[in-house]
């Protein structure tokens, strides 16, 4: 129960940072993706289930605030990012067994891979299907800069998330509870 409250607050906080603060630190119009860092890191730190639930929540919030689908029908398209983020959380959860808190390489590699794959899918669905064919440009100017910037932010954010998880584990005493 306590874990759920902490997670909700954390997701909400990251969402506020993402929509409110990151536009001020955007670099050449590119914002890092904190919601993705959160989803991916809770995926590989706490397992598939936590990952996919976190992803679902983050994606749902991203859906509400994105303009995709705004021109198509009467309202917004909800569920697209929720599905993507959820899959990312789930598949990051597959790496729980390989994950060691001391090792920084795997988390960062996973976050980078998640970001690139999220944006590749976004490109394919939202741009390629509308005949925007210059994939190389989009990769070099949107996907890659975002992945790099996200990695830089992950350097700062991931240790914080790790500290939260460690604290929770200690509080629960059992320790194996979070790694279900």
């Amino acid at each position: 129960m306590k874990k759920a409250i902490v997670m909700t607050l954390l997701i909400f906080l990251c969402f506020l940072l993402q929509t409110g603060v990151f536009q001020w630190i955007s670099f050449g119009g590119i914002m890092p993706n904190l919601l993705l860092i959160l989803t991916a890191s809770f995926g590989f730190m706490c397992g598939e289930k936590t990952g996919l639930l976190t992803g679902f929540a983050c994606g749902f919030l991203a859906d509400i605030y994105s303009a995709y689908g705004a021109g198509t029908g009467t309202g917004d398209l909800i569920g697209f990012y929720a599905l993507l983020y959820m899959l990312i959380g789930y598949y990051n959860g597959k790496f729980t067994r390989l994950f060691y808190p001391e090792d920084l390489k795997l988390p960062l590699a996973l976050i980078a891979a998640s970001d690139v794959s999220l944006n590749l899918v976004c490109y394919c669905v939202m741009f390629l299907l509308r005949a925007r064919l210059r994939a190389g440009y989009y990769f070099l100017h949107i996907i890659l800069p975002e992945a790099v910037y996200t990695l830089i932010i992950a350097f700062l954010a991931y240790p914080l998330f790790l500290a939260v998880v460690k604290r929770q584990n200690r509080a629960e005493r059992g320790g194996n509870e979070t790694f279900d």
Binding site: F15, A67, L83
Partner: protein, 288 residues
């Protein structure tokens, strides 16, 4: 950790795989539902309005102030030097302004005479603050802190300074989401002011990210009368945008591969990189 002491909890556990399938199904269903209907709009908007918007409003205020402060500090030296220059310019302009004022009087008189009272300075407007941005980098949209209860509705035109920013695509009680004209899915019907030729201004992520331009197409200009620098305003045949709002200036013109129309790029009148305050025109275009 001893298994004897530890009470065996009879908690119901759903395996992650099933949870994934169920939630994926839910997402797909939501997508199908929200693609054509706005079933969730109401409750969702209310929830967001009460939970997230107050925080975002606060953050936007603080962020705006900090950004302003850092910009102020960085530009202080610059500003001091320019102040002197500008002071001289002010004197010159005051004289010019006086002359223009006289002409303005004359113009106003003539306008009332001809009942041509239709420039966009007359539209009912309300100021709003940008409080949140899109979470992704693919489209340009943002959230403002005024909504339905401030008289805003879907398709209201949004301006910043004297240029067109975009239009409202969804409204909540005290916030609304704006899609910018530089967004990749945005299309605006526009007119070249000098020659009254119509064209379509298409938001395009590539030209926006590479050099801050907006693409236009479908310009039929057989006599090559349109030149770079011409003003482009919203056209009177647009069904969402009010006529005569400045979009930008033509930057370059090319002939389309079909040899019938022309396309090219225009420089937007609005600086989209740091929008803080916008004006929302509460009047809607009447198409009936």
């Amino acid at each position: 950790m001893s298994p004897v002491i530890r009470k065996k909890r009879k908690k119901f556990h759903i395996p992650a795989k099933y949870l994934l399938i169920v939630l994926s199904g839910l997402c797909v269903l939501m997508m199908l539902f929200t693609f054509r209907t706005n079933l969730f709009e109401g409750p969702l908007k209310t929830a967001v309005g009460y939970v997230a918007v107050p925080f975002q409003r606060g953050i936007a205020q603080i962020g705006g102030r900090l950004f302003q402060r850092s910009r102020e500090l960085g530009q202080l030296k610059d500003v001091l030097a320019r102040n002197q220059q500008l002071q001289a310019q002010v004197d010159a302009l005051t004289i010019e302004n006086n002359q223009l004022m006289q002409e303005q009087y004359e113009l106003n008189n003539l306008r009332t005479l001809f009942e041509l009272d239709q420039t966009y300075s007359d539209y009912e407007k309300t100021g709003a603050r940008v409080i949140a941005s899109d979470t992704e980098n693919w489209f340009y949209s943002f959230t403002i802190d005024k909504g339905e209860e401030d008289g805003i509705s879907v398709d209201c035109n949004v301006m910043a300074g004297s240029g067109l920013v975009g239009r409202v695509v969804s409204v909540g009680p005290h916030f609304s989401k704006v899609q910018a004209i530089i967004s990749d899915t945005s299309n605006v019907s526009a007119t070249v002011l000098a020659t009254s030729e119509n064209l379509i201004v298409e938001g395009d992520l590539i030209s926006v990210t590479s050099d801050g331009m907006i693409r236009f197409s479908q310009l039929s200009d057989q006599e090559n009368r349109v030149t770079p620098g011409d003003k482009v305003v919203t056209s009177s045949i647009s069904d969402k945008y009010l006529p005569g709002i400045l979009i930008g200036y033509i930057h370059s013109i090319n002939t389309s591969p079909d040899n019938l129309t022309k396309s090219g790029y225009l420089t937007p009148a609005v600086d989209f990189s740091h929008l803080e305050e916008v004006l929302v025109i509460t009047e809607l275009k009447k198409t009936e």
